[in-house]
């Protein structure tokens, strides 16, 4: 795989409004590529990739599939009848209709996303091992619901390196409280996700667009200039190397060394990345920025596009509040309303900038919900069958893969376990999930453990 950007890539960067950062990135990247020691240096994929980067839209709390992307006419017909586990079935309160040339059935909750139906590849046969949020979310991110393992962002970064070593290669936006889902576990610390925006606790502070608040805390030194700071950093790193020499192998110290170097460079790149002042009003409007409910996720989606342009390898946006045990009718409208326009805006923007074809956009919760009602107006957890989708990055658009039973309880065809899903994502990135291994505790670990089959049906 090439270690420098192609001319076309370079041109694309220059037209993106981030040209200067991108060129700076290229220069450093080329210098860095010479140094095999840099763990973030770009690495060749196993085979030609279909996607070069990932935007993972993570829907915490688990959205209902039968109200969104898994059309179940029989569920509607059987509304009120007992479901397979006893409680009465609840037909979706929302209308489904067909969209795009592919005729995908999507509910009225996603009027904007459904305009991109021909980009979407619906995975309707998803299943995972656990019906509990924290465990299923952990499995969605790391493959394991039990052990602390590297997240797929960390694996991706480990496998491919990054295209811009002056920014974290794996960025996480939104609710970032569950560190284990973005962690690198036994992989070098430099591969773990860096939180951008959101307060340190993931709370209401420091969301993008919150006036003049600092989105990335401590990004500027209040006293030292860059030269003085570099002299200081040289001292820090020399002390760290001394310690490393004394301690010999010390992953934590290696992690500190790398994170300080990256932090130093980020002082230049991060403020420019986060400065959306050059974005036009039309673009902001596209994402629903400044429009109440859609503002927050819109800001995140716009930031994701800017990160994509800047060469960030893996971007995760987290959006919570999908645990609709109650008040389904009201809450689904709210939850979907917050993300529909921003996601559609992101897809539009990526496409018009020529980025969608090699950016894999993934939308997924940790599981789905029961076709039967809970308390009349809610749905319970369901890990046996649910829907996620992908777009761009080498997947078939306007395509639906797999299905659940007539009511939506269980995946029956085109079944895709989380391990298969991971294998497929890595495959799209040009990585063989069986070959992407890391030796630890005397054995080779993989994202997919000893499982996983690539869903070749969905490859474009």
């Amino acid at each position: 795989m090439k270690t420098s950007l192609t001319r076309r890539e370079a041109l694309r960067y220059t037209t993106s409004g981030l040209g200067s950062i991108a060129f700076a990135a290229m220069a450093t990247e080329q210098a860095r590529a010479a140094s095999a020691a840099n763990p973030l240096a770009r690495k060749p994929s196993h085979f030609a990739p279909r996607a070069r980067r990932v935007i993972f839209l993570s829907m915490g709390g688990a959205p209902s599939h039968v109200d969104t992307f898994d059309y179940k006419p029989k569920l509607t017909a059987d509304n009120g009848k007992p479901g397979k586990y006893g409680p009465n079935l609840l037909g979706s309160p929302w209308k489904f209709s067909q969209h795009g040339q592919g005729g995908l059935w999507i509910s009225s909750l996603f009027p904007n996303v459904s305009r991109h139906a021909d980009e979407l590849c619906l995975l309707r046969g998803m299943h995972c091992d656990q019906p509990n949020h924290s465990q299923a979310a952990m499995q969605t991110h790391t493959g394991s619901f039990q052990f602390v393992r590297p997240s797929m962002g960390a694996w991706t970064l480990y496998g491919l390196g990054t295209e811009n070593a002056d920014l974290p290669g794996f960025c996480v936006l939104g609710d970032t409280r569950t560190a284990v889902n973005f962690g690198s576990a036994f992989l070098p610390a430099v591969y773990q996700g860096t939180k951008v925006g959101g307060g340190s606790g993931g709370g209401g502070r420091r969301r993008f667009g919150g006036g003049n608040q600092e989105v990335f805390p401590n990004i500027r030194n209040p006293l030292l200039d860059s030269k003085a700071q570099r002299t200081q950093l040289d001292l820090v790193q020399q002390l760290n190397r001394n310690k490393l020499a004394r301690d010999r192998h010390q992953p934590q110290v290696e992690g500190v060394i790398q994170s300080f170097e990256l932090a130093f460079r980020m002082q230049t790149t991060m403020p420019r990345l986060l400065d959306v002042s050059q974005e036009t009003d039309a673009t902001k409007k596209l994402y629903g920025i400044g429009e109440g409910d859609t503002d927050e996720f819109g800001q995140q989606c716009l930031m994701a596009r800017r990160m994509v342009e800047s060469g960030v390898r893996f971007i995760e946006l987290t959006n919570g509040g999908w645990d609709h045990h109650r008040d389904l009718r009201e809450s689904m409208v709210d939850s979907c309303g917050k993300i529909d326009k921003p996601i559609a805006g992101l897809l539009t923007d990526l496409k018009r900038r020529g980025l969608l074809k090699d950016t894999l956009v993934i939308w997924a919760g940790e599981f789905g919900r029961t076709p039967h009602a809970q308390g009349g107006d809610g749905r319970d957890h369901n890990n046996k069958g649910y829907t996620t989708w992908m777009a761009g990055g080498g997947v078939k658009g306007g395509f639906s893969h797999g299905s659940t039973d007539e009511h939506g309880y269980e995946a029956v065809s085109g079944r895709m376990h989380i391990h298969d899903w991971h294998a497929t994502i890595l495959h799209l990135l040009g990585l063989n999930h069986e070959k992407l291994t890391y030796r630890h505790a005397g054995r080779d670990f993989r994202l997919t453990d000893v499982h996983g089959a690539v869903a070749t049906e969905i490859l474009a």
Binding site: R177, G199, Q252, D377
Partner: protein, 865 residues
Amino acid sequence: MKRTWATIAAGAGLILAPTWNTTAADRRTSEQTAFFEKHIRPALSLYCYDCHSEETGKTRGGLLLDTRDGLLRGGDSGNALAGATYKDSLFWEAITWGDLEMPPKEKMPADVIRNFERWLQMGAPDPRVREKVVVDSKLDIEKGRKHWAFQPIAGPAGETIDSLVAAGLQAAAIAPVGPADAATLLRRINYDLIGLPPYPKEVSAFLAAWKRDPKQAIGAKVDELFARTQYGERWGRHWLDVARYAESAGKDVNVTFPHIWRYRDYVFDSFNADKPYDEFIREQIAGDLLKVRSEAEWQENLIATGFLAMGTKSLNESNPRQHRMDVADEQIDAVSQAVLGLTVSCARCHDHKYDPVPTTDYYALAGIFLSTDTYFGTVASAQNKRASRLIELPIADRMDARKRMSQAEIDQMKEQRQQLQTARRNARNSDGGSQQMMAVIRRRIAEIDSKLAALGEDGIPATMAMGVQDASRPMDAAVYVRGDVEKPAQTVERGFLQVLPGGGPTRIKAGESGRRELADWLTSKDNPLTARVMVNRIWLKLMGEGLVSSPNNWGTTGQKPSHPELLDLLAAQFMNDGWSVKKTIRRILLSDAYQRSSEMHEGNYDRDPDNRLLWRMSPRPLDAEALRDSILAIGGGIELRRPYGSMISEVGDNRIGRGLNQDRFPTDVRYRSVYLPILRDDLPDALGLFDFADPNASKPKRDPTNVPAQALYLMNNPAVLAEAAAMAKFLIRANPDRGSQIRSAFLRVYGREPDAADLRAANSFFAQYRPVEQAADSRPRGRFQRGPGQGQRPGQGPGQFRGPRGMAGMAGGRPGGMGAMGGVRPGANIPPATAPVIPQMSAEEQTLAVFCQGLMAGAEFRVLN
């Protein structure tokens, strides 16, 4: 005044049997049934089901009217049919537009109301009875009992920590590394016991003592540190992680808990006193029920029950039954994880998927907690539908006298209340009042009421705590089918987990909840989990990983112990020592396993990289509190006295969000990190960036990360720069030349002398560093920039904090301004959000400060060997 369903005193979650109708309803004649079907069912369907039925999925006011059970259970306001006669029932009040007005838009026609009256006179015969559901379990408890963690604790005779660790190493043919050197060990012990580095003086004293007799030196040091109050803060904080301590409710309506700091201090005091762990647990679960010898003890026990009250709450829950169940569920979750290391709340909707905990066991426990009233305070508002009262403590806190209100102030508040009520009446009658305005008025009245209610005759607010009390009518709970509170199945006797000794239904003292019995059962020496779980927590904090590496999950999906016999040895000794935490810590600290060096051994590392066999001491990152405290300690000095209360107690009742959050609090305070405001979903940066425990649920261990955001904090945060500056100024005063300054800096930051390589790095720095010009005011350009002429922070009027709920704040931006009703906002009192200031420095000072900061940023400072 009219009432609505929502504003009638909430909290009546228990089912009170109505007096005049139940028996009649059970014995229906066919004429009565016919009357119901002809006149009542259609009317209910037409006028009520829209908002109160399962079919439409709406349970306004928590009320369901499509089953007889629903009608009898009632909603937020209680049983709809209770009362001396039908005319006293809420149902009648509502349909006749008495105190309630239902349906809300228009009264039902007179003939319909007459039919309802006839029906009520009959005793409300209602044929809409469902068959009683019985939930039974298919779990094999007997088989479940065989799980290793449920076996009795058998302390192996004649063994020690080291003999058992050695056995594990020998079996794997791994030779451990040698002992750590004295300086490393001192630093390790200091951090492990009190979370602070040793000062240079302490280092030299220890090294001298070590030369005389290493064993004795360590023993004496351990005792010395145990005697310092910082020990209780360090170890108490470990418990606070497990106890999900926080000063706000979290979730959607993240309101403050201004009184919970008393629980925090109680925990610190308990660890300092080495309170036996069994007693510590009993107090937190049933403190209000325990016998006491003094008011002081009673006070302490009441505060201890704050453990049960401080969990996350969904305060916007509209169904009181759901809320009560959610609170009980959270309590079961916290107790079972913290004390037993089990995830019992998984059994709320169905039998536990992995562990032998049937859903009936869950409801046996739930009966205990549903028979308990939780007093968590907070002020009612449109969003906070579930505010409760607090517990008034028997001994008044002298400090509350500061908040004494004069008669004039009280009168003013009453006057204000009057005005608000008038405003509300006018708004309602004129149809001009927006929903939003009404909500603001209601909340303001609630705020004033809660303020006034807390005042004693002398105008001093009563001293309050969060905690629990037994409900007035404790009773067994019904199993909810799949956790659905509208679908009760059979009632189960209160009791404990069957799979553990002494489990199953239990005899509970009449009129009590059963928490006393639960506390005794948890802390029984026959309970195989309680002692094991706690010694494992202690081991985890001292060794970097637990013997069981899933400290809150000892079920079948948890991890097996690396050293089962060692676990039992520690647990047995723990109980034999009278559940003394200090003795357990001491035993571990004095072991060879603890005192080993953390040096690398390639061969061992290849075979056991995670150090499960303990061939060395695992290098551990400093946690957030230790890091911040250390920077203060070696910089300008740390305030070791306990601050009174908390920033949150100063703020009082309030809501966390964009208006009030960590950015509003001062960050230049010098007291220990454990006293910083711990808000759910909004932690102080100095803690949140360094992997502080998320307080939303019990957190048994921190998840260390290593990210650039941390590096940026250490490089750029003004707090760090200010401490480095203070340290440099101190070093220059105390040392005559650069050489001794460097040496002194290493001793202060790393607790050791610099070696040759360090000196080369230092000299190279001083040769290259060129001081930058410090602006006259180099205070950070931050969120609260205060340059000349900018005397106030955003959103803050002169001398008065305006929280998100402040009337004045509302008036500015919203139509239908509330200015007329404005005035004193009760209780909002917040220290100014001052940030650390980097002092002016000479070139020499700056150079040394930048050097010192470099040392603090070094990995050696953050990674404990």
